[in-house]
Every structure is written in C-alpha cells, then in structure tokens.
Symmetry: C3
Subunit: 360 residues, 3 copies
C-alpha cells in the first residue's frame, strides 16, 4: 500500500523495471542504458532518503547517519566487487578514491551551500565532525605512506606493497571498529546533536521503514551495476576521459542516495545529519570498504590487490581530508564555506576532465 503510494508520488520509479528489462533484452544499447539508469537512480535515491529519515527520526541523528552511510555504501561495495572479480583493479581504485573525494568535498560542500542559502549561520556538533575528519585523515596517511616511503626496485617492491597493504587493511578496520565503539559506546554523550530537531511529517512504522530501506538499496545496487557497465562506452560517446568517469561520474551517481538525505538535512537546518552522512560515508569507504576489497582480492580476485594509488589520487584524497578537517573544525557554517569546498572539487573535476588519457 505504502509502495503504491510511493510509486504514485514518484513516477520516475517506473524507470527501474525499464532499465532492468532493457539491460536483459538489449545489453549493448549503452548510451540508452546509461541515461535510463541515471533516471532510475534519482527516484530510488529520493525514496531511500525518505525511508532513512523515517528510521533516523526514531534512532537519533548519529545512528541514523551511520545507517544511511552503511546502506548507501553497499552500492559502492557491490560495484567494486563486480570490478574486482573481473580483475579491473584500476577501476576499483579509481572508484574508491573518487567516492572519498566526492563524499568529503561535493556532498559536504553542497550541503553547506544548500543549507546556507536558507539559514544565515548554521551550527553543528563539531565533536562528531572532528572524529570523522580525524579518521579520514588517518586513512589518507595510511594510503600515502606506501608510495612515499617505498619506491624501491621492481621485484621486492611488489612483495613489500602487498604485505604493507594487508597490514594497512587490518589497521584501518581496527581503527574503524574502535571509532564506532568510541562514538556509540564509551563516549556517546559527546556526540549528541547541536541543532534543534524539526518535527518530521514522515512517521512510518520502524518495520516498514527498515524493509523499504533494504529493498530500495537492493534496487539501487542492481541499477548501479547496469549504470557502471554502460558508463565507459557512453562516456566515450560524450568525450569524457576514463579518469573523469571513474572519479567523478561513477562517484556522483553512486552516492546519489546519500546526497538526497544529506541535502534534505541541510535545508531543514539539521546539519549534524548532513556532515555525519558526508564524512561518515567517506570514512566508511576508506576504512571499511577499501580494506574489505583488499582482503577479498586474496580470495576472489585473479591476484592480490594492493593499496598503492596513483600519486595524483593520493594528493586529491589528502587535500580532501585536510579541507574537510579545516571547514568542520569550527562547528559553524555559512554559504561561502560551501562555495569554497565545492571550488576545490571543481578544480579536481576540471583537471581530471582535461587530463590526457595516458596519465592515470
């Protein structure tokens, strides 16, 4: 019943079965599939946003934000696993780096801008933001060290990089687990929300909200896979470089669901929720999804995947972490802060768009 209501409210959801059927019938119509899958992900993201808000309304911003980031990143994990099985490690790494940069710059910056256009000055709990920014900073240091310290000769360097990557994967997952224990366990009191809660009209029962969350996330994953399969060929048609597609296009569409929630939170002056989704999502990809992929590559992949990124990607992740850390340290925001963060993202996007194909 709610499902029917949801479809009526959101007629674009009709693109979801359309994409899946056309993909099964005519899998080589790449440009069509690309456009249809984007059109299908947008309404799914909106539904997901409403379901997440309904759950968040019953569990508090921190848990709601965590839940959102977890389910939202399922998309990235499913996409990356498909690429992993095919041994396309460059694509896996580009989508990891791109997701970190997109979440911590575009999603955060656009939240600040959209919220700031409605509210003069917005405040948020900086303890939560500081924790997430610190974890993100730790992850970028972890990804920086193998390239900065070890640039030895070919043979031993290969073994060194594989060993270091497994060790880093373990340390990052440990840090992530301890961070959850800290923020949800021993120091829960520090991470309460700073902003007043608006009374949400969405009063779904918890069971329905959770069920919708699960089903819609699955649909997002299915459609996203079609999207990724068609993205590269469609990109060639539109004249985009592979670096731009991996970093920007895949990351933007992959995070569409979380963005809808983050932007809605920002406009309702619940910036805690926005910051928690944006940075929490970047942190989860860096400290959970990436390590899991490294470990799974030893089981599923044709050969072990390491954590050594293209230097330009390391620089971008480092700048993204530093920028997120600087702009959230005061716990206050205005529209121009959003502009600054988006500018950094635009500089990256433009550089990748113009980059000659051979570099990455």
């Amino acid at each position: 019943m709610t499902l029917i209501y949801e479809i009526r409210r959101n007629p674009l959801l009709a693109f979801v079965p359309a994409v899946l059927v056309i993909h099964a019938v005519a899998p080589s119509t790449h440009t069509l599939l690309f456009v249809l899958s984007v059109l299908a992900i947008v309404p799914l993201a909106a539904t997901l946003s409403r379901a997440t808000e309904a759950v968040a309304a019953r569990t508090g911003d921190a848990v709601g934000g965590l839940l959102n980031a977890t389910l939202g990143n399922l998309t990235e994990l499913v996409i990356a696993l498909a690429a992993l099985r095919a041994g396309q490690y460059m694509l896996v790494k580009a989508s990891i780096a791109g997701a970190i940069v997109t979440n911590s710059l575009f999603m955060l910056g656009a939240s600040f801008l959209l919220g700031g256009l409605r509210h003069h000055i917005q405040e948020f709990n900086r303890s939560g933001a500081r924790l997430q920014a610190s974890l993100l900073f730790l992850a970028t240091i972890a990804l920086l060290v193998p390239s900065a310290v070890g640039d030895a000769d070919a043979v031993s360097a290969d073994r060194f990089t594989t060993q270091v990557s497994v060790g880093l994967a373990g340390l990052l997952m440990l840090a992530y687990a301890l961070g959850l224990w800290f923020s949800l366990g021993t120091h829960r009191d520090v991470f309460v929300s700073a902003a007043p809660h608006g009374d949400d009209s969405t009063a779904w029962p918890l069971g329905l909200a959770l069920g919708t969350l699960a089903v819609v996330t699955l649909l997002v994953a299915l459609v996203s896979e079609v999207f990724v399969a068609s993205a590269q060929q469609a990109a060639d048609t539109f004249g985009m470089t592979p670096a731009f597609v991996g970093f920007i296009v895949v990351a933007l569409v992959g995070a569409a669901a979380e963005m809808a929630s983050a932007f809605a939170g920002a406009r309702k002056n619940r910036l805690d929720l926005s910051v928690s989704i944006a940075l929490g999502s970047a942190v989860q990809i860096a400290l959970f999804v990436a390590p899991v992929l490294v470990l799974l590559s030893h089981v599923m992949g044709p050969r072990p995947m390491d954590l050594q990124f293209w230097p330009g990607a390391v620089v971008m992740m480092l700048i993204a972490a530093l920028t997120a850390s600087l702009v959230t340290s005061s716990g206050r925001s205005a529209w121009f802060v959003g502009v600054l963060v988006l500018m950094v993202y635009l500089i990256f996007a433009m550089t990748l768009y113009l980059l000659p194909p051979r570099v990455t």
Copy 2:
C-alpha cells in the same frame, strides 16, 4: 597645500623626481637607479599609508583594508604587465609567488612581532582572518593540482596545462568575487572588528585622501618600474641569485606601501587592519592578479602564460598558506608568534639566497 605640507614632512619624496629624471637621462646607471628607487619608494609608501589610514578611518577596517590591498597591488600588477609584454614569464611567476609568500609570511609575521613588542596579548577578528586564509589555501591548491596531477609527455601536457590554467583562472576569479560578496554583502555582520579603535589624528577630507591615494599609487608604479628594470643588474653587482631577487627583493620593495600601513596598525593595537592588509594582499595577488595575467597573456603576450610553477615555489606557497592559517586560527597573538612566522620566511629567504643559479 597638503601636498606641500606632505613634502616638508617627508623630504625623501625629493628622490621621486630624481629617479624619474635620471632614468630618462642615464638609463644604464643601474646600481645608482636601484638605490635611488628604493629610497624613493619608502617615503611614497609612508604617504600612501597615511592617506589609506585617513580613508580607512572613515570606512571601517574591512573596507579600508580592502582598499589598501587593491591599490597596493596595483604596483605588482603594473610591474607584472611590463614583464608580461616582454614575454619574461619566469619573472612574472617569481614575482607572483614571491608576493604571496612575502605578504603572508613577512608582512604578517612582522606585524605580529611589532605589535607584540608593545602589547602583551593582541586580539583580532578571526572570522576575517579565517576567510582570507581559506581563500589563500584554495589558491595554493589550485596552483598545486596542475603540477601534482599532470606530468605527462611534452606535447599533450602543454595543451593540458594551458587549458587547465585558463579554467583555474576563471574559478579563482569567481571565488574571489563570491568572497567579496560574502564579506561585504550577505555576512557583513560577521566581519566587524574585534579591537578597539584608536582615535586617529589624521582627519583628511575623504576627497583629498582618495586623490592623494591615487596620485601616490601612480608614482609608486612609475618608480617601481625603474626599480625592477635596474634590480637584476644591481643584484649581480651585490652577488644575489635571480631566484632571490624575484622572490624576495622585488616582493619586499613592491609591498613596502602596504607594509607601512600594516605595521602602523599593529603598533596601534589594530591588528584587524594588519591581518586584513597582509592576507588580503596575498589573496588578491593569488585570486585576482595572477588570473588576470593569465587571461591577458592570451591577448598581450607573445604566447599564453600558464599557472604551472616551479615545484619549490609551490611548496613555499603551500607552507605560507598553511602557516598563515595556523597562526590566525586562534584570533590571538603575541610577539613569539611573529618570530615563528618570520623564521619560516627567513628559512625560505636563506635557501633562495644560497640556491645555485641553475635550479629555478
């Protein structure tokens, strides 16, 4: 009448016509012209400082600081345009990087030190400082990315660098314009001064103050051009490297006018004015003068100028932006903060002084 009074008060102003006459009569007496032009710029800077303070006293610290930075950087723009027409792009870039580093390290550090020698602890509006430091940080990221991301083969890299530079120039100017709209428009209330205003004895009428400001700025520009033309040969006589002359000597003399104002503000416990002049000037060169030069090089220069700097210059600008951001984040200062910032500058100056000529 005021002009006569000004000349009596400031007899060194007599060097101004001297420099212009000797330059016209005997343009090859480089060492003499170098010494005379420095002696002429100092009193012009002092007069400019008084005129700017008179205007600032009537318009508030923020507008006064902006005015000062705008007119002060006219010098740098005029110098750079002359070099641009001659196709001396290395000199243009060295003077841009040197002006950013000198303003955000030497001018800021010396203001903190001079103010701190008189006042135990000084406070200033950190919202303004944070905005300027953020803009400076954005500019250094913009200048870092082309070198960090794109180091491909010769032919396509050239085209890539030119395209990226035009794009960056556009983004930086947009950020600058939005920053002005933010600080003078929508969020003017946030940027009010924190320090108490001293009652200035300079009570010039606004028209006279503005007129003096314009005339003196023009004279500074004329003398500065003589200074630059003679600087390189005179530097050889004194045994300085080209890198040292471009980065340090040109930048120090070019910013003399703004320094007089910034130091006077610091000693009068109006550190808002000092920080606003120092960082505002660095920001304006990075986000306004440099982009304008890139765009004008497509019209005036023998070939397009790009924004790819020598790696050492990028590192120095990045450290300068980071240092300025760290020391202004608390909104408080004491003499030792000035010492620290000046130490960073001294490290750069010493390294450039000792650098073998071939490196840059």
Copy 3:
C-alpha cells in the same frame, strides 16, 4: 640510604652493573648485551621518573617538564655523538628522525590512551601544547625545504646543502632560545597548568632529587651506549631491517625514561606534564640536539654533516608534527585520540619493518 631503599624497591637495577661488567669482559656477546641493556634501562627510567616528579613537584609542571626533556634527551645526544665521531651519519639522522616521530606520536598517543582509560575526558593547557607543536612544525619545515627546493646537480648541490644546513642550524637554535624566553620569561602567565595537581607522596629534598637525577641520567647514557653498539647485530638475529632499528627500537628505548614520567602524569590526570614531556622532547631534539650535532660535525666529525634527510623520513616527521598539532589544538582528550595517534605510529613502524633493506 635513599639509594639502598631505591635498589630494594627496584631490584632490576642490578642489571645496570651486570651490563657494564659483561660489556667490559665479553663485548662480542651482542644478543645477550642487547637483552640485558633493555632490562637495565627500564628500572633506571623508573627511578629517573620518580626523581623528576620530585623536582617537578617543587618547580611546577612547565619547568619540571623542561627539566625532564633536557635530561632525557642527554641520552640521545650522547648516543648520537658516539655515532658522529665514527662518521655514521645515516645512523645519526635515523635516530634524530626516529626520536622526533616516536616522541610526538608514540609517547603522546600512549599518554592520551593510558590517561583516557582512567578518565572520561581530560583537559590540558593548550597554550603550551600549541607552542610546542608550532616549534615542531617550524623544524619540519626547516628540514623539508633543502630537499624540496634544491635538487640540483651533484657538485654545487653538495656545497649548497652544507651551507643551508649550517644556516638552518643557527635559525633553529635561535627559535628554540626565543621560545624558552617566551614561555618561561615574557609570557609565563599564559603557560600555567590547566589540570588540578594531585598531592604527590614523593617528597624528596630538592638536593637529593637533583643528585639522583644527574647520577641516573649518566647511568642511562652508559647503558644506552652498550645498547646501541649491540642493537644492530641483535636486530639481524631477530630479522629486523636497519631502518626499523634506527627509527623505532633505538628511539623507543632511548626515550624510555621520559615515557615513564609522561605515562605516570597521564594516569594521574596531569596531562599537561605528559604533553609537555612528549612534545617538549621532540622539539628539543629537532631544534637543539640536531643543530648542535650539525655544528659539532664541523669540529669532531670526519666531514660536515648536513640536514638533508631521506624523503620518507621527512614525510614521517611532517605527518607527526601535523598530527600532534591537530590532536592538541582543542586542549581536550579521550582514549580514542590516543588510539588514532598510535595508529599513525603503527603505520610508520609496520612500513619500516617491511621495507626492503636497500631503500633508506
């Protein structure tokens, strides 16, 4: 009498004469000497900690912390001087870089963790921490610039590096002296302790405390020399790389004495003392021990030593300074902050442990 009491309380002190005797009798039993010297340094460190706390109890946290760092780093200086005379500049530099990283990451992080396991939230005077972090940041910039700016051809680069190193040594020592004048002289009022003092049971007379401090420091120096002489061969036996021994093992054992004091302070909720010891010690090595070694190398060494470090070491020192600066800027701590800082240290330690021997 107190000495006898101290020996009874601390029976491991019997290893001190054992190490010195066996070193004189059988100097080639490296693995035995390595184990014995570690066992001897631990109780010496404990006694030193008690004596220092007795002095600190009478002089205030700042002076006590300074005293501790000075005497603790005597060990590092003595070790480095022995290596300097032998011309082993790689070992000197590795121990300098390792001491900076170990003090500012391991000692600080473990203090935060140990203190945080007992106290929910701990506060400390952030003025002191900020001063130390700034000085450390300055030192890493100084060590970064020669490698970042000057990478010219062999002959002139050598002379350039030697000249720059002497200049940097002078600037760093000047900054250190001015920093002491600032914190103990003109702005003493800013650096008072934030945490309440526990009443210490250690009420030694000042003369006895100072005498014990001196004697025990000397014994630490003697035993440390045996430790270093045996460390490399013992490390080979245990399968460690030279980089790991120089950076991690030497630095951890060399700083054992200060760590005992820092950890005791953290558990007694006197985090001011811990932060002052950890960062003060790193600062003293960077701004005092390293410059002294450069200057002494012109007198004592076979050839002048420069300040150009292996790039990986520079990156680690820079990240350590940045991390210390970020985590101390708020003046508050909880156990997870300690975990984060220790994670950065673990990433470095693991990378160095796995590094193929040829790289450093």
